[in-house]
């Protein structure tokens, strides 16, 4: 049985933890609004870009001569996985969810006997992945000191991916990130960016446009495809930023509530043992008086 003093200290410490989690929740809520806004505003750009690429893909008649970034190298041996996570913890299952999804994929790739390379963006993901898959990590990015994610950061990652591709380091590239659905739900996602995924083709309805290109088709593709990679990375980063704040907000909300429950429980314990010691003292006094 802890002493009264211990309980008092305990209650005090839980209360101050509660204050911290409450403050963190407020901060996350404020940041969330901004992040969510930019994620939602960023969506049309990447979607439309993807659409243009898909339309271009449809109009290609000669897949053999098409740019490799679009149709892939034709092989399926080497994989590059880009895992995008946050730089900070205390955001519930946010980082571990991405890593879990990524690890399942890693396992699959390795068990199929294919070559695996990993790029991590964000220090938390790197910490979780290096334990098991450290030897596959070829590069890590961290934008810890950046306050807001801009297109430049995404471009940096995109350029790295493209230079690796040009060096023939991989055949397929997959990015992992959390898709922001709403404040409570974030869905970890794996998106293949090289070669460009064409399974959404049906959604953009099967109209067959014949486009007029200016300059030539391949010139456009050559310029557009690297841009698209950066755009997709940028989208993933924005979605991630919003998801991180949403996830943190929910986590901190839960933590605050749990701390409240704990304080209630401890207060009851505290009052009970205080009452018990008073009763005990009274009994001692009374029985002392009786024996006289």
């Amino acid at each position: 049985m802890p002493s009264l003093d211990d309980l008092k200290k305990r209650i005090k410490s839980v209360k101050s933890t509660q204050k911290i989690t409450k403050a963190m929740k407020m901060v996350a809520a404020a940041k969330l609004r901004k992040a969510q806004e930019s994620a939602e505003k960023g969506r049309p750009y990447s979607q439309k870009m993807q659409n243009i690429i898909l339309n271009l893909t449809k109009s290609i008649n000669d897949p053999q001569n098409a740019p490799k970034l679009l149709v892939g190298t034709g092989e399926d041996k080497k994989y590059l996985c880009v895992v995008l996570t946050a730089d900070r913890g205390l955001c519930g299952g946010f980082n571990s969810n991405i890593c879990k999804l990524a690890k399942t994929n890693f396992k699959k790739i390795i068990s199929e006997g294919k070559e695996l390379n990993i790029i991590t963006v964000g220090s938390k993901g790197h910490d979780q992945i290096k334990r098991e898959y450290g030897k596959y990590v070829i590069k890590k990015f961290s934008f810890k000191d950046k306050k807001n994610i801009s297109f430049n950061e995404a471009d940096e990652v995109g350029k790295e991916i493209i230079s690796l591709f040009n060096q023939n380091k991989f055949d397929k590239c997959i990015i992992f990130y959390n898709n922001f659905k709403n404040v409570i739900t974030q869905i970890p996602q794996a998106q293949q960016i090289i070669p460009a995924e064409t399974k959404n083709l049906k959604e953009s309805n099967d109209q067959n446009f014949s486009y007029e290109f200016e300059p030539e088709e391949d010139e456009i593709l050559e310029d557009l495809l690297p841009k698209n990679i950066s755009t997709q990375v940028f989208k993933a980063l924005l979605e991630n930023a919003a998801s991180e704040q949403g996830s943190r907000m929910t986590a901190m909300d839960n933590a605050t509530r749990n701390a409240g429950d704990l304080v209630d429980k401890l207060t009851i314990d505290y009052n009970r043992s205080r009452q018990a010691s008073i009763t005990k003292e009274l009994i001692e006094i009374i029985s002392g008086a009786e024996s006289l």
Partner: protein, 129 residues
């Protein structure tokens, strides 16, 4: 029948503009291009210059690069460098011109880049008139 089509300018961080237009002039990679309703489907690039949107009134924007798609009477301009002309002042333009000229004289700049930069300078100089 209306002779208008929709035009949308989207930047990576937001939807910059969405409106109706009767005619849009864009600085396409190989020259100025005017687009009216029922233009053939088209994909092209932009070089530095001005986007001119004609409706009841005229709107003018400065861009450095971008991708343009026109289909089903929807004009879509994807760019990360669109700027409203209201935000330009003389000092800023002069700075930009100087920077561009410096780059133009740099030996490491490729011919293709030089082509783009020369248009940038032209566009900016036109502006300061």
């Amino acid at each position: 029948m209306s002779e208008k089509f929709t035009v949308e300018i989207i930047t990576p961080d937001k939807s910059f503009l969405k409106s109706e237009a009767a005619e849009v002039t864009i600085p396409s990679y190989e020259g100025q291009m005017g687009i009216l309703k029922d233009h053939i489907s088209l994909i092209t690039f932009l070089r530095p210059g001005f986007i001119l949107i004609k409706n009841a009134e005229e709107k003018k924007f400065y861009v450095e690069e971008g991708t343009v798609e026109f289909s089903n009477n929807k004009l879509l301009i994807l760019t990360s460098t669109v700027k409203d002309l209201k935000n330009f002042n003389k000092d800023l333009v002069e700075n930009l011109v100087q920077e561009a000229e410096k780059k133009l004289n740099d030996q490491n700049t490729s011919d293709k880049e030089k082509y783009i930069i020369s248009y940038k300078i032209d566009a900016l100089k036109e502006l300061s008139l």
